[in-house]
């Protein structure tokens, strides 16, 4: 055991300072979101006294094209559906890759890994044209297909790493016990994948929820604006009312923060498993 010495003291102080720096934008966000129009400009960094809660209801009801409430709904539908489809398809794909060693599955795996590295923007125009032909622009289905596709490489990568580290004994025991492939997958494998499922679900959820550019391009002109796009148009709509913009951002960020606080442990555990792979 190390003694708590000067070295540790400096290290902790450094970490505390770093944490404060990270917290600063959040403070500004919350402080400004609770100020009146005048206070926003006269004293932007002070504590809001008294807090002006009505900014939140105003942003909720009037922000974006049709109020943030509709965008919130769109974001929720797109995020939840994308994540569920991603988890089902990604885990099945990774399970097959991880459990069938061979040139074909290795190649498929490498292709998925390459998919993590390649920026999606490279394929933006052909993708847009193709999706428009398929009727997948300006609706939920298109956005969900797009998100699932964008997140699939990382999902397969993380799942594959986790499954490769998982002993085969459980599945073999289930086979000898008389279970078929489907029962083995549903009753034995899926529960064992819970830590990585939580990680991937949260990670993908956060990414999809925050996504701006794909939503801007593929949902432009539709009724299904997501939150980040709504907040952007909010800015152009309300001019320089930073207090309302900040309230909108706070509304958008809140679900992610709450999730993160509850799921930190899972995120870290799943990530380290994926990297070890």
């Amino acid at each position: 055991m190390h003694r708590y010495g000067r070295r540790e003291l400096f290290r902790e102080l450094g970490l505390i300072v770093a944490a404060l720096i990270f917290c600063l934008p959040f403070y500004v966000l919350v402080a400004v979101s609770l100020k009146t129009d005048v206070q926003t400009y006269t004293e932007p960094l002070s504590l809001p006294r008294p807090p002006h809660w009505s900014n939140y209801s105003e942003a909720w009801n009037t922000g974006g094209d049709r109020g943030l409430v509709h965008s919130f709904q769109s974001s929720l539908i797109i995020t939840l559906t994308s994540v569920v489809v991603l988890l089902v398809l990604g885990s099945l794909g990774a399970y097959t890759i991880a459990r069938h060693s061979g040139a074909f599955s290795n190649t498929v795996y490498v292709l998925f890994v390459v998919g993590i590295i390649l920026p999606f923007h490279l394929a933006l125009i052909p993708l847009f044209v193709a999706m428009r032909h398929l009727g997948l622009v300006g609706n939920y289905a298109g956005m969900i297909v797009l998100n699932v596709g964008l997140m699939m490489p990382l999902t397969v990568f993380l799942y594959t790493g986790f499954i490769r580290a998982l002993p085969r004994d459980y599945e073999e025991a289930a086979r000898v016990d008389g279970a078929g492939i489907l029962r083995t997958y549903a009753r034995v494998v899926i529960p064992l994948l819970w830590p990585i499922t939580a990680t991937v679900g949260l990670l993908a959820g956060i990414v999809v929820w925050n996504e701006f550019f794909p939503a801007l391009v593929f949902l432009s002109g539709s009724r299904y604006q997501t939150l980040p796009v709504a907040i952007y148009s909010f800015w152009s709509g309300v001019g320089e009312r930073w207090n309302l913009i900040m309230a909108g951002i706070a509304i958008a960020v809140a679900p992610v923060l709450v999730f993160y606080v509850f799921a930190q442990r899972h995120l870290i555990r799943g990530f380290s498993a994926g990297v070890k792979g």
Binding site: D169, A174, G178, R187, P191
Partner: protein, 361 residues
Amino acid sequence: MTAAVTLTGVGKIYPDGTRAVTGLDLRIEPGELMVVVGPSGCGKTTVLRMTAGLEAITDGEIRIGDRVVNALDPRARDVAMVFQNYALYPHMSVFENLAFPLRAHGVAKPEMRERVERTARLLELDGLLKRKPRALSGGQRQRVAMGRAIVREPQVFLMDEPLSNLDARLRADMRMEITALQRELGVTTMYVTHDQLEAMTMGTRIAVLKDGVLQQCGPPQVLYQQPENVFVASFIGSPMMNLVDGRVDGAEVVVAEQRLPLPANGSAAALAAYSGRQVVVGLRPEHLTEATGSQERLHGLARSAELLGAEQLVRIELGDDTVVTARLDGQTRVAAGDRVELAVDTARVRFFDVATGRAIA
């Protein structure tokens, strides 16, 4: 219904070219407990997994009862397996773990409950049915793994080093429990281990494997007393048999310049052909005792002595760098440097061909 397991000419070559098992012929009689034993990498687990259907066989035929099962899926073979690390489903309670194989076979709920409870009573797991595997001790997990195999009432049990994760004391208890349980249930069992003590104490018969080839198969006593080759002689028994160089000279064998008469049993005739040639002489430590009368003798200097309580294991240098271990009585302490006279039970000495390693008999 328990059934015989018959392996005929079974071989296994892995895709990378590794030859794990070669031409294995083995028959496990109905109700028998066959221990397959050998050092790590000898192919014993592969044999078990091929019988379970978890590994495809390259050559030969495996029968369970009258059925050839070569191409059958594990679940169609009616076998149950106990894994080395138990492979208890961590997210299920003990009850659910025990019920899993029954559910998979579509057993109706009331019957399932009844069979799980009966198995739990048999293994003294009644109070633990609601617990998850992580809340159990090593011994309890072991029992659950056994229970999951028993509850199905399969034709064959396959056990892959099921005691290797337990501490020494628990292992000794479980050895007896598993043996008793197997006798009670009368289910044909293939038990794989690297521990010759488990093999000796548990097996109705023992099959010794080395490099994927069967070396000898027989009851423990036969393997111990009449090993067919040097490998079996050295693998079975602890401390291992002393294997020293010797030369046959007429009716005697010369070991480290000391002479012993050849035994007056069946091997004498075979040994006659070896006159003037080198052989490997196998002496069990307990067949070397402290000389008191006019027995056949070897003598040497004690190098070290380990007192085990009732007995002591003494390493004795006979000369020419020939060292043997003798299991002597613990009463008279021997110290390093002492001269020791050893009486040799010549009737029990085994001789092996230097080139082939096979027993001369």
